[in-house]
């Protein structure tokens, strides 16, 4: 009896301690440096924004799929590490996993992505070239892009993790600023080097706008200038053997981003499936933290002392 009480006390104390720490973390997040605004709310669509040179951005994101249309309910977290190599070159590494309801939890692989801005100046339409290598398995559900045809997911995670996919993906990103709106279009081509599937196609379109275009002089967290609202439309366009909309998934997703602090952004989006092959709802959530001057900080560790 005493043992049980002791255990309950320790458990409750630990839970309180954990709650206090989480509360402290949230408080620290909200009390951090003031917001700077204008981070894109997109999860799938890319605009022409490149990471500032020498900065590192670490993001923890999640895609949750709601059960329906032959798709299971799942939770697919992923981590994105983005580095500004140059003002015209951004490199990213992704690590991803997933947990399917009534099934196991698996690591689904990694991706290495590079984006290049070929033109030195801003134009009406700003192109960015995107190239990605994916070392994933068929269990991947983060839906960072939607390409090809959509099929009902009937296999278990144990089977899916055995089917490796080495994929190359290229995107043409076009992005414009029109009267305070960002309008972005992505055209996607993907080739699975591990299977004879032909070349798959997809698209992503996005429009977004900050809720205020002038920055106020005061430091504030909930000012309208710190919020960007947007709408994404993305989906597959079949493959080189069967190009078109037949048996493809498409989503319409309102999204919002909130620059909580100088270095922290929260993003949220709810995507609604538009076809019978789409998951009914995709809920996405992201937290990003930017380490400014990361390159200089690392370089200073190796600098010889005077």
């Amino acid at each position: 009896m005493i043992m049980k009480m002791k255990f309950t006390f320790i458990f409750n104390t630990r839970r309180r301690s954990l709650a206090a720490r989480l509360g402290g973390l949230l408080l620290a997040l909200l009390l951090a440096a003031p917001a700077r605004g204008q981070e894109s709310p997109y999860f799938v669509t890319y605009d022409d924004h490149m990471e500032e040179p020498g900065n590192l951005e670490i993001s923890v994101l999640n895609t949750t799929g709601v059960r329906g249309n032959g798709q299971p309910a799942y939770f697919a977290p992923y981590t994105e590490i983005e580095y500004g190599v140059k003002a015209w070159w951004t490199a990213e590494l992704y690590l991803e996993g997933q947990k399917t309801l009534n099934d196991g939890t698996i690591f689904t692989g990694w991706r290495l992505e590079n984006r290049w801005r070929p033109l030195a100046r801003q134009h009406r339409i700003n192109p960015v070239l995107y190239f990605e290598y994916e070392n994933i398995n068929e269990g991947s559900r983060i839906k960072k892009e939607v390409v090809g045809h959509a099929e009902p997911a009937t296999e278990s995670n144990a089977e899916l993790r055995r089917a490796h996919a080495h994929e190359l993906e290229a995107k043409l990103i076009l992005s414009s600023q029109v009267k305070g709106w960002n309008v972005s279009e992505n055209f996607i081509v993907e080739k699975n080097l591990s299977a004879d599937e032909g070349v798959e196609f997809g698209y992503a379109l996005g429009v977004s706008r900050p809720l205020a275009s002038l920055a106020s002089a005061r430091n504030c967290r909930l000012c309208r200038e710190n919020f960007v609202a947007g709408l994404e439309l993305y989906g597959g366009l079949g493959d080189s053997r069967n190009f078109g909309l037949k048996q493809t998934a498409h989503y319409l997703a309102p999204a919002i981003s909130w620059q909580v602090s100088d270095s922290t952004t929260l993003r949220f989006s709810t995507g609604f499936g538009l076809t019978s092959n789409s998951a009914p709802v995709l809920i996405r959530f992201g937290y990003s933290y930017e380490v400014r001057g990361f390159r200089d900080k690392v370089a200073s560790l190796f600098r010889r002392k005077q």
Binding site: R36, A87, Q122, S213, S216, A217, N219, G293, R295
Partner: protein, 137 residues
């Protein structure tokens, strides 16, 4: 073997990334705004609230490279110098909007246009002969 190749590829990419930065700032004579852009004037009034917003934007977006006082760091220009301050509002706006990616200056075209003009207003407030930032004119 494939895993090793991937690790080498990743490691090589990261090393290349660290080595690919500018070492020192040098003015770029080829970075010239078109005449039409240079002729634009700032549509915003130099009111304290507006300049103050520009100061906030400067601290958040620009100070990391140009310094909190705008006097530049190793890779970025000293914005207080006459060579910068003698440029027209239109030129400064164009340079903020376009950046100079090949020389490490990012494009800030994703900021709403009024915010870029706010930055120009604040740059003017950095002039030594200017009244302190945030005063009405």
């Amino acid at each position: 073997m494939r895993g090793l190749a991937a690790i080498l590829l990743l490691g090589g990419g990261i090393l290349a990334a660290f080595g690919a930065q500018n070492a020192d700032y040098r003015p770029d004579d080829g970075w010239q705004a078109p005449r039409e852009a240079a002729a634009r004037s700032n549509p915003l009034p130099a009111k304290a609230e507006v300049v103050g917003g520009g100061r906030k934007l400067f601290v958040r977006h620009c100070a990391e490279c140009h310094g909190g006082d705008g006097q530049g760091r190793k890779r970025a220009a000293d914005l207080v110098l006459p060579a910068v301050q003698e440029q027209s509002d239109g030129v400064l706006f164009w340079k903020i909007s376009n950046g100079n990616p090949r020389r490490g200056m990012p494009s800030w075209g994703r900021l709403p246009e009024p915010q870029r003009w706010q930055l120009v207003l604040y740059l003017r407030a950095l002039r030594p002969d200017s009244a302190s930032a945030g005063t009405s004119k």
